[in-house]
Structure formats: structure tokens, C-alpha cells
């Protein structure tokens, strides 16, 4: 049990779970966030308010609570739907909770980015005979991306650390794994988990800086 290489390999293995949740959440929450953004900016008022209320609820309650509700909710409410049993079910439920939560945060960042683009950019496109679609994709989008890279980067970094909340519904991620050792009196694995997060965030920071530089050729 105290064999260092064994502990490290078990920590690494469990960190893979954090990485999977991170990757899956990003992959789905970014596009879903954009869909939510369009909903929250819809000209159809009931839809707009419905979406904004939903975003408010998700952003206004702890992610930990959302994990619990999403995982246990269907069973407690005797719904026809239920999560698959065992590890797979817990893993999928965790991803669903993370995706919904982060999509809402992203949607607000996207909305802020889109609303920050001056009306004149749309109007310039319009008087040049562009369609709405062309204006969005050819004129607005890249400017929005440039503006949102820093705040999205912040969320992405937060997500790295939030993945460890998946242990609340018994996903054996790295902190939970290290916790088993500390419960038995061995404390260093818990500290060691910090290094995994630091390295991951370090790499992300470099990537994000690179992206910001890449978009630095123009000013908005």
C-alpha cells in the first residue's frame, strides 16, 4: 500500500477521469453554450425569459448540488428515466451536470461578447449587401472570439479544478483516490494531487496565451 510507484500510477489513472470529464465537458458545453446564448438573445420574449431563468438557476446554485440533483433526482422522483447502474452511470451523470453548468457560464460570456460588438459593424455589413448569416460568420464571429478568449480561458481553468467535484457522486477521480490514502493516515498523495492540477493548468495557460497572441494581429 505504501509503494510510491504504485500510488503514483493509481493517482495518474484516476486523474485520467478528471481529464475525461474536462474534455467531454468542453466539447459539448461550448456549442451548447452558443445555443443557449441565442435563446437568451431571442426576440421571442417567452423563450428569452425561460432561457435566462434557467441560466440564473444554474449559475445561482452550487455545482455540487446540481451533481446530486442530476444523479439522484430521477430515482427520487420515480421518473421513468434512470441512469445506468455502476461507474458508467455516475460518470455520465457527472458529465451531464458539468456540461449544463458550464454551458450556462459560457453562454453569458458569449452574450457579453456578442453584445459588445458595435452596431456599426452589423450596419457596415448590411449596407454592403451581406446576409445576416454572412455578417455573423464573416464579420462578427472572429471579433467576438477575440474578446471572449480571456474570460473563456478563466472558466476553462476553473473547470480543470471543478472536475474533482465529480467525487460527490462517487466518481473515483484523483482527490477521491488520494482521500482513501489520507483516511488511512498517508497524507502526501493528497498534496501530490495539487501537482497534477498545476501542470494541467500550466499547459492550458500556455495554450491560451498562444491563442491570444494568434488573435493579436487585429484590434477590436
Amino acid at each position: 500500500m505504501n509503494n510510491i510507484p504504485v500510488i503514483i500510477s493509481r493517482l495518474s489513472e484516476s486523474f485520467l477521469l478528471n481529464c475525461k470529464i474536462f474534455g467531454i465537458t468542453l466539447l459539448f458545453s461550448l456549442p451548447l453554450g452558443l445555443v443557449i446564448t441565442f435563446g437568451s438573445m431571442s426576440r421571442f420574449r417567452p423563450l428569452r425569459w425561460l432561457v435566462r431563468t434557467f441560466v440564473w438557476v444554474i449559475r445561482g446554485t452550487p455545482l455540487m448540488l446540481q451533481l446530486i440533483v442530476i444523479y439522484f433526482g430521477p430515482g427520487l422522483m420515480n421518473m421513468a428515466f434512470s441512469w445506468p447502474g455502476g461507474t458508467a452511470g455516475r460518470f455520465v451523470a457527472a458529465n451531464v451536470a458539468f456540461i449544463i453548468n458550464y454551458a450556462c457560464y459560457f453562454s453569458e460570456i458569449f452574450r457579453g461578447g456578442i453584445e459588445s460588438i458595435p452596431q456599426g459593424q452589423y450596419e457596415a455589413g448590411q449596407v454592403l449587401g451581406m446576409t445576416k448569416k454572412q455578417i455573423f460568420f464573416k464579420v462578427i464571429l472572429l471579433q467576438v472570439i477575440k474578446r471572449i478568449v480571456p474570460p473563456v480561458g478563466n472558466e476553462v481553468i476553473t473547470l480543470v479544478k471543478d472536475t474533482s467535484l465529480a467525487r460527490i457522486i462517487a466518481n473515483k477521480e484523483i482527490i477521491m483516490m488520494a482521500g482513501e490514502y489520507s483516511n488511512n493516515g498517508l497524507i502526501w498523495p493528497l498534496f501530490a494531487t495539487g501537482i497534477y492540477f498545476l501542470v494541467f493548468v500550466g499547459v492550458l495557460t500556455i495554450l491560451l496565451d498562444w491563442l491570444e497572441k494568434k488573435l493579436g494581429y487585429f484590434r477590436v
Binding site: L128, G129, F218, R219, V220
Partner: protein, 261 residues
């Protein structure tokens, strides 16, 4: 036959009547200057012509075709507005260049997108795109920016940006090119280069409507002048008439105020 006829245009924002009974016409090749104090509705008028605002009343006729009639919803269909607004070009007060594109691409972008709608686009893509590039380069050399093709908007001065905006508008060959105070956002030492470009266009008989506070310039390049106040056309006529011998009291007052400063 006039190229443009504006007939009794009216526009309100809520209870605020911004344009009232605006009527005028413009011959092909003429330059019309619109003057008037701020808040008199000049920008709103240009925006109506460019379909950025919808007038509540009135008609707009270009080349004998009714392109807008407030009383006839058939003339206001969204699908046709995009095509119709190409009769007009608009140069904005604050340029509104696309920051992520080079000077050259700012001029070619809209042309390239429109070219996609041509039936022969797929087969002749290369030729079409080349032709667009050449056209844009010619226009940019006309406005004196041949050496800035690959620059991004933030790298050039305001005067240069406005000249790009003019080339961008010209690229679509509008029947009527509108300018909304094209030099108001510029430092005084940069207005000259932009005015020179517009003067050149006037000499080539480009049909233009210019909203401006540069009275000397308006007097010099305009074939006709409109003075607006409080949403109505107070006076219109030749530059000699409006500047040299204004009939209306309001015009006189405005001109004394403006020639003093």
C-alpha cells in the same frame, strides 16, 4: 429623369418626429450636400435611404423603380431589401471598417460574397476572384492607398481608414453614394485628404449625397444644397442660392453660426 426621387418621407421614433415631409430629387452625376445643425435628422435620412431605418411614410424611387413605399408592404420584403439597398452606398462617420481584415480584404469581402450568388461562380471562381482583387486594387490606388493593401485598419490613420471605407463602398458600384459627416471623426489635419478624394469623385460625376459640416467644401463641390432643421427641409437650391443668398431666416442664422466657427 432623376436617378433618385424621395417623396414625402416621414419618420418618428416613438413620439419624436425626426423626419417630416422630406422630398427632393437628384440627377445622375450630381452631388447633393445636406447641411443642418446636429439633431436635425440628417443621419436618419441617410439611414432611411440605406434601409437601416424604415420610414413611416413616403416613397423612394430609384431609376423610376419604386424601391420603397410605406403604403405598400410588397416593397418592404426582407428578401428584397438586401438587393435594393445596393442601389445605395454609405460611408459612415466612424468608418466601421472590419478590424480583422486587411485594407484590401475590407474592399473585396462584400464583392466576393456577392459573387457566390452568380450562376457561373463555381466554374469561373478563379477569374472572378482575380477580377475582384484587381478592381479593389484600382479603387485603393484611386484613393491613394496602394502602399497599404496588406495593412490592418488599426495600423493606419483615421483619414486613411475613411479612404478605405470610401473604396469599400465604391467597390459595389452603387447608383448613389451617401456620406454621413465623413470627416467629423477626424483630426483637422486629416480632413483634407478625405475631402480631396470626395472632390475627385465629384469631378468624375459620381452621384453623391454628402452630409457635412464643412461649409466651404459643400459650397465648392455640391451641385445642389439642402438645409435641414428639425426634421424638415427648410431650403434647397444651388450652392449660390443657399449659401450666397438664403431666403429663409433659419438658414441665415445657421450659416452665420457656422461661418463664425
Amino acid at each position: 429623369m432623376p436617378i433618385l426621387e424621395v417623396i414625402e418621407i416621414g419618420k418618428s421614433f416613438g413620439t419624436l418626429q425626426v423626419l417630416q415631409d422630406i422630398s427632393f430629387s437628384l440627377e445622375k452625376g450630381e452631388t447633393l450636400a445636406i447641411i443642418g445643425s446636429s439633431g436635425s435628422g440628417k443621419t436618419t435620412l441617410l439611414r432611411c435611404l440605406n434601409f437601416l431605418e424604415r420610414p413611416d411614410r413616403g416613397k423612394i424611387i430609384v431609376n423610376n423603380e419604386v424601391i420603397f413605399d410605406a403604403a405598400n408592404p410588397d416593397t418592404q420584403r426582407e428578401s428584397e431589401v438586401r438587393k435594393k439597398r445596393l442601389h445605395f452606398g454609405l460611408v459612415f462617420q466612424n468608418f466601421n471598417l472590419f478590424p480583422q481584415y486587411t485594407v484590401l480584404k475590407n474592399v473585396t469581402l462584400a464583392l466576393e460574397l456577392l459573387a457566390r450568388e452568380r450562376p457561373n461562380y463555381k466554374q469561373e471562381k478563379k477569374d472572378i476572384l482575380n477580377e475582384i482583387q484587381e478592381r479593389a486594387k484600382t479603387l485603393l490606388s484611386q484613393v491613394g492607398l496602394s502602399d497599404k493593401l496588406e495593412f490592418y485598419p488599426h495600423m493606419i490613420s483615421g483619414g486613411q481608414q475613411q479612404r478605405v471605407a470610401i473604396a469599400r463602398a465604391l467597390a459595389l458600384e452603387p447608383d448613389i453614394l451617401c456620406f454621413d459627416e465623413p470627416t467629423s471623426a477626424l483630426d483637422p489635419e486629416l480632413t483634407g485628404e478625405v475631402l480631396k478624394v470626395i472632390r475627385n469623385l465629384a469631378e468624375r460625376h459620381t452621384t453623391m449625397i454628402i452630409v457635412t459640416h464643412e461649409m466651404d467644401f459643400a459650397r465648392e463641390v455640391a451641385d445642389r444644397v439642402i438645409f435641414m432643421d428639425d426634421g424638415v427641409i427648410v431650403e434647397q437650391g444651388s450652392p449660390e442660392e443657399v449659401f450666397g443668398n438664403p431666403r429663409e431666416e433659419r438658414t441665415k442664422q445657421f450659416l452665420t453660426r457656422y461661418t463664425k466657427v
